[in-house]
Structure formats: C-alpha cells, structure tokens
Symmetry: C2
Subunit: 496 residues, 2 copies
C-alpha cells in the first residue's frame, strides 16, 4: 500500500483549494511512476480518512483527475490510473523542488554568436557612472505624463484603442508626429509615411531585416554605433567600413564599393556621427543622396540626437532633402524625455512603411496605444517643445562646464573637441594612456568609465570613448573630473 498520508502534503495556507492540491500531487505520482497504469486508488471514503479531509474534497479531486484524463472512474468498481499513460522519463535530481534548474536545456538551441550581451548599468551606483550620452531621467516630467496617461485611458473615445490595433501604430500619434517632424525637421510627410516603433533600435532592426539578407552589403563608418553593426550582421549581411573624418562619413569610396558588392544600404548618424560626434557636411549630404539614387541603395539615417544642438540650429536631416524616397529616417522620443518611454518612429515612403508594419506584426504584434496617445497629447500641447528647450539649456551648461574643467585639469591626458551638440564628448586618451588600463583604476575610486571595446568594434585602435555629460548635474561633473584627474596621477605613479 502506498503511504498516501505521508506522500500527499496538504496546506490550508496554500492558495490552491485542497481538492486541487490532492489532484495535482496524484498527477505527480502518476507521472513519476509511483502510481502505475491501472493502479486502483483507495475509495473516496478511505482516502478522506487517510488525508484527514472531508470526503467531498476527495470526490472533487477524483472528478478533476477523471476530467483531465489521468484516471478512469468505473461505477461500482472504483478509480483506476489510466492504463494508457506512459511514465515520464527524467533523471531524478537531488533537489526536486527546482523543475527548471540553472543548467543547459537538453534541446540544442541555435546560439547566434553575433549577439553579445551588453554591460548593463549597475543599479544604485555608489559613485559616478559614465554613460554613452543619455538624457538625465531625473528631469522627466513624470507627473504631467502620468496625468495625461490617466486622462487618455479614461476617455470614452479611446475605448477601442484598448483592443488590438494596427501594427503601424496609433493613428493619432502618426498624424501628430508627421506634423511635428515637418515643423522641426523640414520634412514634408504625411501620416502614411510614419511607422511608430518602440524606439530607434526597433527602427534599425526592421530596416535591417527588410533591406538586407545573406550576401548583401551595408556601408557603415569605420567607427560606428556598435548595436547597429551587430543588428546588421545578424541578417547575414556584410559590413563595408568607410573612413570617418572631421566632416563625417566619407563618400569617395562608395562608387567603388557599389560596383564590387551588392550594396543595399548605408547607415549614417548624420547629425552627430556616433561615436565621434562630428556633423556630416552639406557637400557630403548631397553626394550621398545622389549616390543612393545612382546605385539604388537605401540611406538609413539614424537621427538619434537631432534635438540636441547648442550653438546653431540643428542641421536638417538628409530625409528633408530626399526627393526620391531613398531615406529611411529613424528617431525616438525616449532620448528627449526618459528611456523608459519606448516611443520612436521610422519615416519612409508609404510602400516601405507598409512592408515594415507587416513585418512588425510578427515581432510584437503592435505598440502601446495608451502610451502613444499620451505622447500625441504631450507633443500637441507643446509640452515636448517646452521640455526640450528647458533641458537644452541645462545640458549646454553641463557641456560647457565639463569641457572647461577637462581643459583646465586634464589637458595633459586627453584630446577632445567641444561638441556642438549631442549628449557626449568623444574623448581620446593621449599616448601612453589607455582606457583599458585607466578603467579599473578609476573604478576603485568609484568612477565607472565606459567599456572601450564597444567603441572599437572594428578594432581601429583609436583610443576614444564617449563621455556622456547630459545625465550628470554640475556637482557630479566636478566630482567626475576630479576623480578622473586623480586616476591619471595614480596611473603615472603606477607607470614609474
């Protein structure tokens, strides 16, 4: 006789009712072979006494097992374990509490080696953490956004947006964004040219998937945004690297590459080249547009920091000059407000936008209509413009201070140009200093510097990293520069 009393453990604190606790444990006994096929279970009265529960509870448990097909209840005869159920093969493991152990699966999944894990920002850093150039999320107009969100969710007219919606994005935001981009970036587009994305990365992923396949080539800078490089490579396409100088990505080799390869696209961060922050010159912009027309490749223009320009006005994107429908223009609102708000856009000819929406349908079905409505309102109200002006002023001060201090106390160690815009400085170490060596010394002082490898995916050995200044307040900038300076002093001692 199987010792049900000691095997079946019941708890009145468990959120599952008793009958379910009983039936689930009997299922486990069947699966692991303790209760063999055709085994006759104790009668309900006997089992109730064994387990010290009401008989009705056992009847409910047996009914459950019967309905689920684990046992057969034969009137006047009793309840038998279904004779067709095979025993589950598994290696008994010591701690059988853990069904999913922290071990490899026994199936062999395909590991795409192109995808590398990215160093995540540590939580609650005790010290100064340097990012790639992201906004200061402490300045997010949180309360205002939450208020708008709540308003939008309550509106009767928005009820249908709670259901499944278009993979193109919320139609109201598409319209508002088309107007906003026309006004701020000199585009001349309509709602049909806008796909709402979850942010720039989704725009890059979708463009890569639609433009590239194995055997194709894409042109990128010799220094480039690493995440974009990896996204393009994951399609099986080949990266062709172009030199980058003080006028941005160079165009002189493009014809040659197009004649020798299946060049489908070029990826440019024209406003401020990532990572070096230089602006693509007017001459090269026009050359690029003409070349794309001549050779029939797409220009994927990632305008990740269009709004951040401190001296002159932002330079209009390539997309504003494109009369031939060759530019796929990618941007996001996250950078302006806070990274948590995953709202971006991809602007292109409507035929391309429709293809992109078809593909996107299979990625994550659709966007978040409520968040999209919230941002439509936030833009329409003029709140986004006001917020942008406010943070631009703050970031300009931060840029000025960090450049001034670096020039004052670190000029023996570093080379940099004061950036005209953006949220980061491209900081090159003078010889013989190296980021790889400086980084661990700085970390001991509570200064967490960026990983230099991610800025040199093409292994050019430029010895530069991006120092994001926008997310540091003036006090933090002072601490950063001081810690940075003392890191070099210590390094010099170590070198001697």
């Amino acid at each position: 006789m199987i010792p049900f009393k000691s095997i079946i453990q019941l708890s009145r604190q468990n959120s599952n009712p008793l009958f379910l606790q009983i039936s689930n444990q009997i299922i486990n006994l069947i699966k692991n072979g303790t209760l063999r096929p055709a085994y006759r279970l104790p009668g309900t009265r006997a089992m109730a006494e064994l387990l010290e529960v009401h008989r009705k509870t056992v009847i409910a448990a047996y009914d459950e097992l019967n309905m689920q097909g684990w046992i057969d209840m034969i009137p006047q005869k009793g309840s038998y374990v279904n004779s067709k159920i095979p025993v589950l093969n598994y290696q008994r493991i010591e701690n059988s509490e853990l069904v999913f152990e922290k071990k490899e699966s026994s199936f062999h999944y395909y590991k795409n080696q192109d995808f590398i894990a990215v160093e995540e920002r540590p939580k609650k850093v005790d010290g100064i953490y340097i990012d790639d150039g992201i906004c200061d999320y402490r300045l997010t107009p949180k309360e205002e956004l939450a208020r708008i969100y709540r308003n939008q969710i309550s509106k009767k007219v928005n009820l249908d947006f709670l259901s499944y919606n278009s993979a193109h994005g919320n139609p109201i935001l598409r319209k508002v964004l088309a107007e906003y981009l026309n006004n701020t970036r000199g585009l001349k587009i309509e709602k049909e040219n806008v796909l709402i994305t979850r942010g720039s990365q989704m725009g890059i992923h979708i463009s890569a998937h639609l433009c590239l396949q194995k055997g194709d080539s894409i042109l990128v800078g010799e220094t480039n945004y690493q995440t974009a490089d990896i996204t393009f490579q994951s399609t099986g396409a080949n990266l062709i690297r172009l030199k980058v100088d003080e006028e941005g990505i160079t165009t002189s080799e493009i014809s040659k590459h197009c004649k020798e390869n299946k060049v489908r696209a070029i990826y440019v961060t024209s406003h401020h080249h990532h990572p070096t922050t230089v602006t693509l010159s007017a001459e090269r912009r026009i050359r690029l547009l003409n070349l794309s027309q001549e050779y029939g490749f797409a220009i994927i223009e990632d305008d990740y920091d269009y709004d951040f320009h401190y001296s002159n006005s932002p330079i209009l994107p390539l997309a504003s000059h494109d009369q031939n429908g060759n530019v796929i223009y990618i941007g996001s609102i996250c950078k302006l407000v806070a990274p948590v708000f995953r709202v971006g856009y991809l602007v292109a000819p409507s035929s391309f936008v429709n293809e992109a929406a078809k593909y996107r349908r299979y990625l994550d079905r659709q966007g978040d209509s409520l968040l999209e409505l919230t941002f439509a309102r936030f833009i329409k109200n003029g709140d986004l413009d006001r917020h942008t002006k406010k943070i631009l002023k703050i970031y300009r001060e931060r840029r000025d201070l960090i450049c001034e201090l670096l020039n004052k106390v670190c000029k023996d160690y570093v080379l940099f140009e004061k950036p005209k815009g953006g949220m980061a400085i491209w900081l090159i170490l003078k010889s013989p200093y190296q980021w790889e060596k400086i980084k661990p010394i700085a970390a001991k002082k509570g200064l967490f510097l960026p990983d230099p490898k991610k800025y040199d995916y093409a292994k050019k050995g430029h010895n530069g990293v991006r120092i994001g200044f926008a997310s540091l307040d003036l006090e933090e900038i002072k601490i950063f520069v001081e810690k940075f300076r003392s890191t070099f002093e210590e390094n010099e001692k170590a070198l001697k």
Copy 2:
C-alpha cells in the same frame, strides 16, 4: 538676378523663426541648383530690403548657412554658395509639396513574402464584428490600472527604472510572475527563468529565432495558429504538420519525422488547441515530453488561454511536468485584461532565458518598466485574480448562451462542440454551406465574420472558423445568432 522676393515665402505664423525659414529655403535653392556653386548672395542689407525683414534676421540666416557649410562668408567680399556642393539629382515632380510620395522607393528592398498583411479590425463597426476569441476590453479595470501606474511613476524608489534597464524585463515583475505562475500553473520556477516580453507574439518570435534556422524543421498541427506558422517559416525552417484529433495534436508520427528531419521544436497550444479548442490529453502530454527528451527538440508551449476554463480547473501545462528543461512556456497578461497592455512572458531554463534576452536587446532594447511595475502591483495585490474570477463568470454565461442559441436555431447549418474553456467556438459549416459564400451575405446584414482563409493556412478544407464569444455581451450574442440564422435562410433562397 534671382527673384528672391517671390521665391522665398515667409510666414509669421510658422513655428520656425524667420531666420530659419530664410536659411532653409536658401538651402533648397542650393540643392535644386537654382543657386549654383560660387553664386554670390545679395548683401545682408539688400536681402533684408527684398524680403522686408530686419537686417539682423538676414545676418542670422547667413550665419546659419555658413555654420552648416552651405555658404562661405568672405569678409569684405560677400557670401558665396559653397563651391564644392553638388546639385541634388531628382526628377522634378508636379506636386513638390510631397517629398515622400506614395510610390515605390527607388531602392530595392527585400520583401519577405512570408509575411502577409492581416485584416485589421475595423473601427466603430456598425453591426457585429466576430473576432478570433479575445477578451471584452469594455471590462478592463482602467481606472485602477491608471491609478497604479501613476503611483508607480511617482515613487522615489522607482526613479532608476526611468532609465535604460535590463532586456530581461523589470526584476520586480519577474519575481512576482514567477510566484504567480508557480501558484496558478504548478510550475517550480524562479525569477531567473522568466523573460518579460511584449506579449505572446514576441515570445513566439524569440523562440523561433533561437531554435530554428534554414534547413531545420518544426512540428505543428495540421490546423494551427496561422501567425505562429508564419513566424516559424520566416526563419527559413520547414513546417511538418501533425494530425489533430479530439485529444489534440497527435504524437504517433513524431519519431518517424525526427529520424528523417532536423526537428528542432514542436509548437503546441496544449490547453486548447488553436483553432479547434480541444485539450491535449494526459497521455499525449507525457509522450510528448518523453519524445522531446529522446530526440532533443524543444516544446514551445503557447498557453494563450490557460485562465479560461469553465467546468473543471485548468489543466496544468506541459511546463509543469518538465523536469528536463525542454519546454519553452509562453503566455501573456494581455488576454486577461486588455490587448493594449503589452505584457507577456517566456519561461524556460535560465540559460535559454539569457540567450533570449541577448537577442531581445537588438529587437526593441527593453520593455516598458512602468507598465511592468504596474502589473507587478496589480498581480501582487490580488487584483488580477479577482478580475479573472469576475470575467470567467461573465464569459461562461456568454458561452452558455451562444451555444444554446446556436443549437436551437442554427443546428441545420453548423457543427460544433461546446468548448470547455477558451473564448471561442470552433464552428464547422455543414455541407453544402461554405464560409467563403456566407461571409459576404452576412456582411450586408452588418455581421462581419472571420476570414476563413486564416484558419486553413495548410489548405485542409475543414470548413471551420473560430467564433469569439467572450467579447460579445448577451444582447450582442442574440443579435449575432439572429443575423447568422437569417444569413443562411437567405443563402438557401440564393441556392434555389
């Protein structure tokens, strides 16, 4: 002399300042070749008179052009169009207002023919619209969710969640979901086994991408969720179809297929097979687990409607029996609350979850931490449980009514089993009726039936579609059945 006065149009209503309007229009004149390289612009005083603006405005415009590299300002000589700028090649189009016309792009993007556009639900349907089986979003606890969202956004402790975060999903929701799934589904998992997704579709996409590549095979039902079929095909993998009977997907042919093909995975909707709603029997569940262990393939278990069961308790998923780490368990919260809330999960061994997060990083960077925190709270409070109980009661009434009425007035036309759970009936038309013919007749009466093609992607000719009942209230169900019945009557007249 170029007639600047008539070419340059200024408007004080425009949100761009006058100087920018001037510089942007001069840029366009340079690009289109009206102003040739080395052309000497009028002096600032002369231009100010021509355009009837203050001279300072023209100076600002010229400075802007100079900084952007479009013109060279030579002291004591004047301002000249940059002589290196090439003319932009484009075909002048009649309505030059539209930069992106609704035409094909001139680059040739790769159209992935596997992706088909899905019929979107029309807005504001005047009549009855039949869906695939989705929840009634009119029952969404909107105010409560908005209140929690606002609370979460205001909390000081959540400040860091406004920034970039882990691609794995919010750690608080991962923990809460692990507990919730352990309690409700008999899983024994920890936070490390959970990847937060945007909903089931993202889970399917990620699993497909990691498990399958060109040349591989995946097992699916001969009837299957079309979107999953298409997602798998898009990886280049081959679909092998298994028969589906009243016990769900059949397992007898699996060994044979595994011996002849590179079978990497099987896709099952075990709780209620999509589309036919049958439940996978206990016997087959164990066989499937044993086969996956024997041949080393993954089981992708899409438990899209686990919570919707009306007679007995929900049957525990395959994932609850899996001791070998072979099951990738996919689900979402959208189905329970409202499709707009894009929160789902993928549960698997932690090694797989980490690979999945790496890939996800390149899809859309990360999820929406604020929404994830909102749902963590909603689950933790017991609100999700209460909401589930409430809607289950409502949906059971709806199921009972629609089945009763269909049996009463349509039994000459249709065949169906009353579903034990889920949100849809699998409705087969008796010969000689056909959905393709019935659909347009019904549409004229304001009854919008599903597209039968999407239920028969494998072209088996079963003449069935899913009739979602959960989203229709009792009054709407009565109208549906009445319109449906009269459609057949009319069809019979048409047949005579």
